[in-house]
Amino acid sequence: MTAWHLDPEEIRRYAQGAAPPHLAASAEAHLMRCAACRDVVSSYVDTRRAETIWREVVDRVDTPRRSRPERMLVRLGVSEATARLVAATPTLRGPWLLAVAAVLALSVWAAGVDERFLRMFLVVAPLGPLAGVAVAFAGGLDPTREIGLAAPYSGLRLLLIRTAAVLVVTVPIVAAAGLALPGSAWLAAAWLLPTAGLTCAALALTGRMTPVAAVAVVAAAWVLVTAPAAVTDRLDLAFGAGAQIFWLAVAVGGGIWLTRDTFRIKLGRTT
């Protein structure tokens, strides 16, 4: 206890956060020792503001630290909620990514042994990211699928988030494999526009069927069309300038469709 007390005006300014730093420091030092002044201060404090600050403190102290991938995504500007949804994407697990890398490494090795396998790489390359999208929604691999189905979160929004996450991770793996191929450099990039177009086509089909079925339909159509061209060495038909323009158009068209639907999602009209 002390005989000296804070001036009522000083208390008011301190309680409202309007005191200059030297006065605030002095007031805090005194309040630590003086119960009478603490009582006076409490009558000036905005209880709602104090509760908000206290809840924030509890939240910061009590919430477990996010995993490293989530922290990295948040640092890149992704919202903490989206980062958690991405972290739960089954396809982004180590074993799946290793499997994709292993298949592609095998393709690159085979291409070095026989030139015919080089052409098949172009057929196989877009299937990696596409399979990733399908697996991200396969019931057996998403342990919380049933809970997710009964939740109000938009299925399409989740599809877009997971698709984007899968593409961001798998496309660099396929690109690295493409760069390791022997022969012409254009092979390393010729699969990119078809991949974008095929992904957009699969997403567009999800309005009519499950994501896994949509990817299966698109992938089957892709293999049926491109495999004969690759086998007969008519790559220009499937990967030439005309084909690239076609895939660019599909990707742009799909992008417009997705943008339109994303807009609808923001308005909350899509379930």
Binding site: D59, E80, A81, I147, L149
Partner: protein, 286 residues
């Protein structure tokens, strides 16, 4: 308002009819679904959880129509669901997993969401393991995590598919306590094989077999179905539908008793066994 109203619901998977013109209602309190494996309990609960739509019939949940897109979203905002084989992202901690489901439930304000995550973790007694990875938890603890996520957002309708399966007796008692508390002021529909759980928790029950509702009413009304049809004897009676040797060495017989049989009060389990053994019988208590 009746929380759940299902009328004439039929659902088939290929040639298998999982639900056959099912009528079912549940109001405030805990309503139990009892039936053997493959009876259609899970299909009915998945329909109530808006995961499945019936091929025919109508469903009304919390006064809303789940076949309408807008209504379905509003129902899901007020629905808690614990599936039979609830899976988990095992690399997540308990807090992270429950928070993940809270995000799926569209709880957009981070602080309010975290407050609610902490609330359900405390309700289910998971505070000591909140920061532990799910892969390190026992089966009973994981079941609690499943219940915790279902309680997020203080739902008006709680759907629990076999919530006590695989739990030891003490864990089952704790679960009963949690479910009983959850049933205060909201509609809870739960399925179980355990007649003890149903007796202890439910104000009303429906017995379902081969996709059809065989009985609806209170546990006491179901038990009353077996009045004067349970007796003890020193041996297994040929007239019994079911009979087993009890701890005191006598046989408990369920069925049509012979003349002069020593009748004893029936249990819910006796009535359930009788109902399952008499496929033509259908009983509805309003």
């Amino acid at each position: 308002m009746t929380g759940v109203r299902v009328h004439g619901a039929t659902k088939s998977f290929g040639r298998t009819t999982a639900l056959d013109s099912v009528d079912f209602e549940a109001g405030t309190g805990v309503t139990g679904l009892l039936g053997p494996n493959g009876a259609g309990k899970t299909t009915l609960l998945r329909t109530i959880a808006t995961v499945l739509a019936p091929d025919r019939g109508t469903v009304t949940l919390l006064g809303l129509d789940p076949s309408r897109s807008d209504d379905r979203t509003r129902i899901r905002e007020r629905l808690g669901y614990l599936p039979q084989d609830a899976g988990f992202h095992r690399g997540f901690t308990v807090f992270e997993f429950v928070d993940y489901v809270a995000i799926l439930k569209e709880m957009t304000d981070r602080r309010a969401r975290h407050d609610d995550v902490r609330r359900v973790i405390a309700l289910t007694g998971l505070e000591p393991v909140s920061g532990k990875r799910i892969r390190a938890l026992s089966g009973g603890m994981r079941r609690r995590v499943g219940l915790a996520q279902a309680l997020l957002g203080d739902p008006g309708l709680l759907v629990l598919d076999e919530p006590t399966v695989g739990l030891d007796p003490e864990q089952r008692l704790r679960f009963r306590e949690m479910i009983s508390r959850a049933g205060e002021g909201r509609t809870v529909v739960m399925s179980s094989h355990q007649t003890e759980d149903i007796t202890a928790l439910c104000t009303r029950i429906a017995v379902i077999q081969q996709g059809r509702v065989r009985f609806t009413g209170t546990p006491a009304e179901l038990t009353a179905q077996a009045a004067d049809r349970v007796w003890t004897d020193t041996q297994r009676s040929p007239a019994a539908l079911a009979a087993w040797r009890t701890g005191d060495g006598t046989y408990r017989n369920v069925g049509d008793p012979p003349e002069g049989a020593e009748l004893i009060p029936p249990t819910l389990e006796d009535a359930y066994l009788l109902l399952m053994g008499e496929p033509e019988l259908e009983v509805t208590h309003p």
